[in-house]
């Protein structure tokens, strides 16, 4: 299969909190970098560990995460 979302080297993890519903998919897939804050929304707890695989970005059902690119 062709790689449709090539990995990014950037550690620039952007989370749009107003779109995040706190479903826990990203924190389940990536236990090292992402965590839930007190309000039940995803945060980048350890951004330096990010490998830029973009699994969180492709699997966020709410379009709330983007890696290494400025959006909005």
């Amino acid at each position: 299969m062709l790689e449709t979302t090539p990995p990014r080297n950037s550690k620039n993890i952007q989370i749009n909190k107003s779109w995040c519903k706190g479903c826990g998919i990203c924190t389940g897939l990536c236990t090292k970098v992402l965590a839930m804050d007190g309000g039940g929304k995803a945060i980048a707890a350890n951004p330096s560990l990010c490998t830029g695989c973009r699994l969180c970005e492709t699997h966020c059902p709410d379009f709330a995460i983007s890696i290494g690119v400025d959006v909005n």
Binding site: M1, T5, G24, I25, H59, C60, P61
Partner: protein, 278 residues
Amino acid sequence: MQNKVNKYLRSEMLPHIWCPGCGNGIVLGALTRAFGLLDCDQDNTVVVSGIGCSSRASGYLDFSTLHTTHGRALAFATGIKLARPELKVFVIMGDGDSTGIGGNHFIHAARRNIDLTAIIFNNSIYGMTGGQSSPLSPLNSKATTAPQGTLERPFDLPELARAAGATYVARGTTYHANMLTQLIKNGADHKGFSVVEAITACPISYGRRNKMGNGYDMLLWQKEHGIPVERARKLEPSEMEGKFAIGELHKSDAPEFTDIYERFIDEKQINHREAKKA
């Protein structure tokens, strides 16, 4: 890529209405990335959807979109494609929408082999109306209409599509999101009726009742049960029990309906002109 993807979303409509952990957003993401790969022209692409949770997707996509009646998305799409064959038409339906209410439209669109790309969000349940069992609910799965488990066997959607005459049939899951993007792209590139079944999770109406956990647990379920078709073909039927093949399941060539129809019209017009001359 993200900027390119967001171009196809009506971001002012977000956040969407889907529940936390619902896989529909992942399918929509895969779809927008496929639009990016196809470099879709927003003025010459139409997205048609039926009724149900999944069919709300058309409202979040920035194309000419049509949110139609229950089960009838393919009928509307057939009309659009026949009137304007140069348009690229995508059809978004749910499992109940496409095989229950719209079962007949589905098999006849496949029989005609009309150049549409149908993406079916299969969450195994009628989520929006309150968790009734659908024709794709697995045997013995619980629903509000089947509290002790459904006694009816589900359709095998790709088999149904292939038998009815669809010339491109594929199945992906929200866990295998990149593969799903590629399958949708290949389906759109294929000339003829393309069906892509996207296995997605409904943690609220299906998962909770069937003790499958939250959205993340249901993603892992898809990882464990979706077997790439190349490997699935080598396995014994007993080894595939309870599992399903994912990937490109069927591809064939057959005359496409809008081509046949245009040729027919051309011939009739030539005959008519010649009859007038004589």
